[in-house]
Every structure is written in C-alpha cells, then in structure tokens.
C-alpha cells in the first residue's frame, strides 16, 4: 500500500494511493461540498460541486473521482471555485421546479442546504419551468420529478446496495428523467423490492414516503450507513 503526500489548502497530508482527493480531504477534516456522492456507492462526478483546483492543471477537477498524487497541491476554496459552485446550484434550481415552500423536504433538503452554503440569494438563470410528472403508483413511496436533480443516488443505491436496479435514466441533458424498470409506473416495476433505500438516499424531495406533506419528509442516511458498514467491514453496528 503506497502512500502519497500532498497538500490540501496548504495543509500537508498523507493518503493511500487509491484514495480520492475527496476521501483524503474528509479524513483530514476538510469539507468539500458534494451532492451526487453517497457513501457506499460508486463515485460518478456528476454534480461537479466537488470541483477543486490542482496546481499546474488549468481546468478544475472533481475531487470525488480524482486520485491523490505525489506532491499534488490541491485548493478546495477560491474565488473561482466559489463562483462555479454557486452557478451550479443556481442552474439546478432553474432546471426543475424546486418550490421549497411547497416541498415535502423543506428544511431537511441537501439542495436547500447547498444554496445556503454557497450564498445563493437568487438564480441568475431563467427558470425552465419543465413539465414534470409525479408518480404515486407505488403503495408506499412516490417520485416527484419536479424536485429531481439527476444525482443518480437512487440509481446507484438500488443497483449497488439493494441489487435490484429498478432505477435508471432515460433521455439526455435537461430532458433526462429517472425511470423505473423499462419506463413503467413505479407501482408496476416488478424488480422493485420496496426496500426504501432510494427514499433515504435521495437528497431532495424527489423521492418521498407517501403521506408526507410540506416539510415532513426527513431522510435517515444512517440506515444506509449501517448496511454499507456491515458489507464493507463486516460489522453490524448502528
């Protein structure tokens, strides 16, 4: 197991060579904002919120899928990075219909928290006002595409942890939609085990427990952590 030494925000750090910049930063108490990242599932670099600067490389690199390197000088916070992160969050709000005031997740939402942390007071981009469906054909859960940020956490948690692969994506760009099975209503998706992992994984109010009204939905990520710890460390601890 080779060790790499590098600096993150000026702090000297040693990390195992297979670690990503994000993992090394977290081990050393340095916070990098993330949205699509979910512990226990593969990293895909989709949301771009974890972009960092690496000295000598002109473009920004996503910390969650960039391996540490010897002598790397990483910067997680600069005027340029802050501006890009803010733009990303503003674009997410403009792309779908995120009406916080009428959302099940209001007050417990990772997108809302990100808006606060990046200092977003409004979106500079015109709202796209897309027509989005709400699917409540499943007896216990629902999916509201108005709130979906296409992070893919539900897709990965269902495939990689539950092993069902009920969720996937259809379409491209802003027209991408999360679909169940071969684009059938969730309640008719034969592969769904109704385990609820996608509900706990979803960062926004897109996937929710039926019967929750405004601000009532609160995700419990510790349930997923329990399963991941059991699988990776063979420890059944809560």
């Amino acid at each position: 197991m080779a060790v790499k030494t590098l600096t993150i925000d000026g702090k000297a750090i040693s990390a195992r060579e297979e670690q990503t910049i994000l993992q090394a930063a977290r081990e050393n108490g340095i916070t990098i904002p993330t949205l699509c990242q979910l512990n226990g599932t593969s990293d895909i670099g989709a949301c771009r919120l974890c972009l960092v600067e690496v000295a000598g490389i002109p473009k920004l690199l996503p910390a969650c899928v960039t391996r540490v390197g010897e002598g790397m000088e990483v910067s997680t916070d600069s005027e340029r990075i802050r501006e890009y992160r803010k733009m990303i969050v503003e674009l997410l709000f403009a792309e779908r219909n995120h009406v916080c005031a009428a959302c099940v997740e209001n007050g417990h939402c990772e997108l809302q928290d990100l808006a606060i942390s990046v200092g977003m007071d409004h979106s500079r981009y015109d709202y796209m006002n897309p027509k989005c469906a709400v699917d409540i054909t499943h007896p216990r859960y629902g999916i509201d595409h108005n709130r979906c940020v296409l992070c893919g956490r539900c897709v990965r948690v269902c495939d990689e942890i539950e092993g069902a692969h009920t969720w996937d994506f259809q379409g491209r760009g802003a027209n991408t939609r999360t679909i169940s099975d071969m684009f059938v209503p969730w309640g008719q998706a034969a592969s769904c085990t109704s385990c609820g992992k996608c509900v706990q994984a979803c960062p926004t109010g897109a996937i929710f427990r039926r019967g929750s009204t405004v601000a009532e939905m609160k995700k419990d990520r510790t349930r997923l952590d329990f399963i991941v710890t059991a699988r990776e460390k063979k420890q059944w601890i809560a």
Partner: protein, 180 residues
C-alpha cells in the same frame, strides 16, 4: 437626518410577507421614528411617489399590471428589494408555468369544467392581463437586494431592514438565505 421613505407593494403573492413584516411587533414602533411608509397596502396613497429610498416588492410578476408597477418602482426608487420567495424565485404563483400558456388555462378553469358558469371573467380592459410565464422580479427589472423566505421570518426582515438603514449593503448570509 432625513426620514427614510419606505414603500411596499403586493404583487402575485399571498400577502404572507406583509403579514411577517407586521410580525416585527415592537420594532415597528422604533421603525416609525425614522421611517415614513409612503406607499403600500397598509397606507392610503394610490400613486407610487417619487424619491423612494427602499421598496419591498412582495410577489411574483404575473400580469401586465405587475410589469407596469415594477418598472415604475425601479424608476423612482433607490433600493429595490425582492421581498420573499415569490419575488425572488416565482415560487407558488409560478407553479402554473409548466401548464402552458395562460389562455387555455383560463379557458379550462372558467369555461370548460362542468362546475363552472362557462364564461371568462371580466370584460376586456377591466382586469389585468395575465402573462404566459410568471417570473421573479429580477427578470423584469434590476433588483438591488434579495430577502428570501416563504415568508421571510420577522427576525430576518428586521436584520435586513437594520442593515439597509445603516447604509451597509443589505446582503443576507448563512441561514438568512434559506428559501421556503
């Protein structure tokens, strides 16, 4: 010191932001010592006056009348504030946007449904004409400051007003930016 000329206006919203303003309680008395409310739903003037220092705009821009109001406000006001989520994002009034153009929406609601009387409301020129896409205020005029929340809590309004009155840039930070 000259008294600060404050205006407020209620566009496409529920008046909840104004209610939250009234929740300032005793601070309203302090405010009355230094501020004149020169226009708004809580005072009498019918015409928006000149030389307004601060205007709090509640609500999204939903009609031709709202467009006229905000342009008029911009021309006569130093600091224009998007007051509450509807003004900042479109929020609840903008939820009709994905349904398409306003004509078919009104037609369905007022005429096509069996429980309705089968006629469009008002004569031509009597009612403001609703625009096809509800937009936040900053998409129509330049907005100087944003005060999010649905409604913004009174404590947040107080913090904002105090910042604005002190002459500092009224820019909220941290949890003061929480929408919803």
């Amino acid at each position: 010191m000259d008294r600060v000329r404050l205006a407020t206006i209620w566009l496409g919203g529920c008046s909840g932001c104004h209610m939250s303003f009234l929740d300032l309680d005793e601070f309203l008395i302090d405010l009355a010592d230094i501020v004149d409310v020169v226009y708004g739903p809580v005072v009498d003037p019918k015409e928006y006056p000149d030389n307004v220092d601060i205007c709090l705009i509640e609500g999204a821009v939903c009609s031709d009348e709202h467009i006229h109001h905000v342009k008029n406000i911009r021309a006569k006001t130093k600091i224009v504030v998007a007051f509450g989520d509807c003004a900042v994002t479109g929020n609840v009034p903008a939820m009709r946007n994905p349904l398409g153009k306003i004509g078919p929406i009104l037609q369905e609601i007022y005429c096509d449904r069996p429980e309705t009387q089968g006629q469009m409301p008002g004569e031509k020129g009597l009612m403001p004409v609703l625009i096809d896409t509800v937009v936040p205020v900053h998409q129509v005029i330049k907005v100087d400051a944003f005060l999010p929340g649905c409604p913004p809590p009174a404590a947040r309004i107080k913090e904002f007003v105090q910042l604005a009155l002190s002459g500092a840039e009224p820019k909220l930070q941290g949890s003061g930016l929480k929408p919803g």
